[in-house]
Amino acid sequence: MIKFVNISKEYKNGVTALYDINIEINKGEFVFLVGSSGAGKSTLIKILLKEEGISRGRLYLNGMDITRVPNRRIPYIRRQVGVVFQDFRLLPNKTVYENVAFAMEIVGARPRDIRRRVPLILSMVDLSKKANSFPDQLSGGEQQRVSIARAIINNPPVLIADEPTGNLDPETAWEIMRVLTDINNRGTTVVMATHARDIVNLMKKRVVALEDGRLIRDEQKGGYSVEIPTI
């Protein structure tokens, strides 16, 4: 599904953010991307979203080589990759329903399909009752669920979550993890960058760890750090 082959990234100011990264993520996998700030997680995600170019190496998405694509094709690649951010990034002047429908309008979906699909996704993230609320009337967890709904409304094969629980209390964070697991169980590949040690340790999913731009660990059913967690 996603394949990083010998990818390096140097920024224009000379900083090297990634050294020779090799990762292969299969369809339907759930992958944690861990590492301290500045380890290269954000750069890796930006590369996946085609926000940043690649200095060396090749990147494949869904069997397509997307190492270098013309700018006008980038939007179509982004439609394959849903994305959720730490700060939700909802439109404050639109209701929950409109925020989610917005993503469908952008790709030119039929109004009939929008009316059918938005309530479906909202019920999936348990927000049917809040459809007409505005973002500032929602709790953090609810807002994040709206942004997840928006990210998956167009059925992307991959969902990227950049510290989705970063702004949430532990209980709400688990609520979000349940939603993400749910989405993963329906066949969507999920890549989640996170600092949340206990979540990573308890979920027992694949863990890819970065440090100073290098891949230092990639293990199935891994933990946040190499030491066996002492519970």
Binding site: P75, R78, I106, G108
Partner: protein, 306 residues
């Protein structure tokens, strides 16, 4: 996807863009006022310049038609042989339409007619002081120089008068007005492109968040750009509408009131407001929306790097 599906999709996208353009214009109406005002100010000045240019063209054309004559004044008491020689010589030149003899008596009659009420002043003349003359009509007074020079040297010709100088001066004057007008309009168009691009820039910045989200969800650049361009064009068209109304009705009022006060001589040379309404509407609409679209594009270019 087959073609019908693609067209339907494009149509829905287009509808969204238009809708958002109108919404954005409405939300941004305060700043938009500045754009609309500046565009209509530019177009009003353009209108004035346009009317002046058209009127001067009118004058030039009219003068050209009126002064297609060359007057050849003759010495007194020429024999018919000399007259025939002059006629024959003149008719050889290309572009000569006709040559007509005007005796001194006829010339006096014409003068009396022209002087009308003051004609009594001529009554006291004991002797007709006017010379005999030939009136030569030509195709194009601009090209008559050779003919004039040749006729001047003929025997029995005292003086040749024609209005090339007047027309030349008029043409030069019209040229200055045209160039000056275009320069002024050019500068003003530039200024208003700048103003509208600033207005749109403010919308772009205030909607940065939304644009950012649109990009992540996979909106194409055209889809993001579209509403802003629509907004710019709408501001431009509003400005055009305003200035069309002001220029047209203002000019019509001026024209009518001049007509009423019997400055006929003056209005004779002014273009009829009704004749130019369609032209003004088309020119203003095009320039207004062009300024709007250009302004939006410029502001987006810098602020919308995906």
């Amino acid at each position: 996807m087959n073609r019908r599906v693609v067209i339907a999709l494009k149509f829905r996208l287009f509808k969204n863009i238009i809708k958002q353009g109108f919404q954005s214009m409405w939300r941004n109406r305060g700043m938009g006022l500045a754009s609309v005002t500046s565009i209509s100010a530019v177009l009003m000045i353009l209108g004035v310049v346009l009317i002046i240019i058209l009127s001067i063209n009118n004058v030039v054309l009219d003068t050209k038609l009126k002064f297609d004559e060359i007057e050849v004044f003759l010495e007194d008491d020429l024999g018919s042989g000399a007259l025939d020689a002059i006629e024959a010589e003149v008719m050889e030149y290309p572009g000569v339409l006709s040559i007509m003899f005007r005796s001194k008596e006829q010339a006096l009659e014409i003068m009396k007619e022209e002087w009308a009420e003051e004609a009594y002043l001529l009554e006291g003349l004991e002797e007709n002081p006017l010379p005999d003359s030939y009136i030569i009509k030509v195709n194009d007074i601009e090209l008559a120089e050779n003919l004039v020079n040749a006729v001047k040297t003929l025997d029995g010709v005292e003086e040749v008068k024609y209005y090339k100088d007047v027309i030349d001066k008029l043409l030069v004057f019209a040229g200055y007005i045209r160039v000056g007008g275009i320069a002024i309009i050019g500068i003003l168009v530039f200024v208003s492109v700048f103003i509208i691009s600033n207005t749109i820039k403010i919308t772009v910045i205030s909607r940065r968040r939304e644009i950012n989200i649109m990009k992540y969800v996979g909106a194409t650049n055209d889809y993001i750009r579209g509403p802003f361009i629509i907004e710019g064009v709408l501001f431009g068209l509003l400005g055009a509408l305003l200035s069309i109304a002001v220029v047209y009705f203002g000019y019509e009022y001026l024209y009518e009131s001049m007509n009423e006060k019997l400055y006929n001589l003056f209005t004779f040379y002014l273009v009829d407001p009704k004749m130019i309404f369609a032209d003004i509407a088309i020119i203003f609409g095009t320039i207004g929306s062009g300024i709007g679209a250009l302004g939006s594009l410029l502001s987006l270019k810098r602020y919308l790097n995906v």
